[in-house]
């Protein structure tokens, strides 16, 4: 902690829960309290507030800012506050807004539907050996790989970026003595929002990221702060709840499904007439076009106008495929085979 604070970051969040006092007579917490007092006056230090701590709040936490890191009932979303206390990302973003004047963060902001980054920062390549990470692939290719592994999870191996998006400094690097290494550390830490976290064997503090798999909990806070600084108040959030757990996005998905199925039903009632008559062909084409436009409009409206979390892409893609399949008769050979097999089976019976 001291080694980070020396580099004068903008703020430091310590993602450690000071629950148990494991100090001994020879190793008192006083040096830690002194570090907090020494730097806490000029650098905001955020420390998780916990219900039961062996430490007195007057000494260890006197100059630090309390934040909340434990919550429930928010599904996979990142809340802004629990009670009246900010979560780390929102507390740091509030400080960012105050210092830069670029944004304004009112109280009671909706939770964040976190968007996880894929690429590593350029600084990361100066710090660590990243051979096990995925390189700088084309974003479209990466997105396609993610979609493929989500849709065909049984057939395609799980796709994930095994390295965190946020710049990660190994703790031993903080003991650097060479001037070049110290200078590099300074460029990475000075005037930055720094988070200190640990992934300790036997005390796993992990969250699930659709991009990375299981990842240390501190990266959740880092990614939430990154979303806030990147999108400000236009970050992605859950769609408003309509009834119990059902939100606007679920209802919209259902309506779109119903529309597509009604449309498909109409087309499939008499497909031969539909596709031979010119006016009917036009109807199929324009109605399909209208449906596709409606789908894309909903996606754009939800994601970029209302900033709701991206709609269920897999469901939408299935719908699009379902519409396009009628036009291009994607499953015609399969249907033919099925009807042939059915006929063959009935013939055998007779």
């Amino acid at each position: 902690m001291r080694q980070i604070l020396r580099h004068e970051p903008k703020a430091l969040f310590i993602d450690l829960l000071y629950t148990h006092d494991r100090t001994t007579k020879a190793d008192s917490p006083q040096p830690l309290i002194n570090v907090l007092e020494r730097y806490g006056k000029r650098i905001p230090i955020y420390v998780p507030e916990i219900k039961e701590s062996a430490f007195s709040s007057e000494d260890l936490f006197a100059v630090t800012h309390p934040v909340v890191v434990q919550w429930q009932g928010h599904e996979h979303y990142y809340p802004s506050q629990i009670g009246s206390i900010d979560t780390p990302a929102f507390a740091m973003h509030r400080q960012f807004c105050k210092q830069t004047g670029k944004c304004n963060q009112p109280k009671n902001m909706p939770p964040i539907a976190i968007q996880w980054g894929m690429h590593l920062s350029t600084e990361q390549y100066l710090l660590t050996d990243n051979n096990e990470c995925l390189g700088k692939e084309n974003p479209m290719i990466m997105v396609s790989k993610v979609l493929l592994s989500e849709v065909f999870w049984k057939l395609v191996p799980e796709w994930r970026q095994p390295c965190a998006y946020s710049t990660t400094v190994p703790p031993t690097y903080l003991s650097a003595t060479l001037s070049e290494e110290k200078a590099l550390l300074s460029t990475i830490l000075k005037d930055k929002f720094v988070m200190l976290g640990a992934l300790i064997q036997g005390a796993r503090d992990e969250v699930y990221s659709p991009v990375h798999g299981k990842i240390a909990g501190v990266y959740l806070h880092a990614m939430a702060l990154d979303n806030l600084i990147s999108y400000h108040d236009q970050y992605f959030r859950p769609a408003p709840t309509i009834w119990r757990n059902i939100d606007l996005a679920d209802i919209t998905d259902c309506i779109l499904f119903l529309l597509v199925f009604v449309w498909r039903e109409k087309i499939s009632t008499n497909p031969k007439n539909m596709l031979s008559d010119n006016s009917q062909k036009r109807f199929v084409f324009y109605s399909a076009l209208a449906l596709l436009t409606l789908l894309f409009t909903v996606v754009v409206l939800f994601s970029y106008i209302f900033n709701f979390q991206p709609i269920n892409w897999v469901a939408q893609l299935t719908l699009i495929l379902s519409i396009v399949a009628v036009k291009i008769r994607l499953f015609a050979p399969l249907k033919k085979l099925l009807s042939y097999l059915k006929g063959f089976y009935q013939g055998e019976k007779i």
Binding site: R2, R6, H20, R22, T24, Q30, P31, N34, V35, E37, R38, Q124, L127, T128, D129, N130, N131, E132, C133, E158, R160, Q161, P162, C163, A164, T168, P170, T172, Y173, S175, A176, T177, L178, E181, L199, I200, Q201, G202, A203, R204, E206, Y208, S209, H212, G213, K214, I215, A216
Partner: protein, 124 residues
């Protein structure tokens, strides 16, 4: 034979003397510096010009807290953070190229927990 031994003894004493050169502060990387107590508590923030002129002999070093003790102009012992001073000798930490920590697969599980160690036994 005796001559050789005398030369060896002389060389040892010379090298021993060089090695025993006292640890000293030769420069500062800041204009003002915090003076601390032995546990790192801030006593005051002073301009480095108000401290004795370099090289300032270090009378004690705390490796754990990265602090060095010197005597100020009034003869009081004060501690300084080694990050802001340049010493005439010091350790060099060799940093190998660390492999970045990789994340776990979706189905990775850890079904054991960390023990509390011996401190709890000491406390009871």
């Amino acid at each position: 034979m005796i001559k050789k031994l005398l030369v060896m003894l002389f060389m040892c004493s010379v090298f021993g003397h060089i090695h025993a050169e006292p640890l000293a502060i030769v420069d500062f990387s800041v204009d003002t510096i915090e003076t601390l107590d032995s546990e790192g508590k801030v006593i005051a923030t002073v301009p480095v010009s108000s401290l004795p002129k370099t090289a300032i002999v270090v009378i004690e070093k705390n490796e754990d807290l990265d602090l060095v003790a010197i005597k100020d102009n009034s003869g009081e012992v004060v501690w300084l953070d080694t990050y802001y001073v340049k010493l005439n000798q010091g350790k060099v930490v060799d940093l190998p190229c660390y492999k970045i920590v990789t994340t776990g697969a979706k189905d990775s599980r850890e079904t054991g927990t960390m023990g509390f160690g011996g401190t709890c036994e000491d406390a009871n």
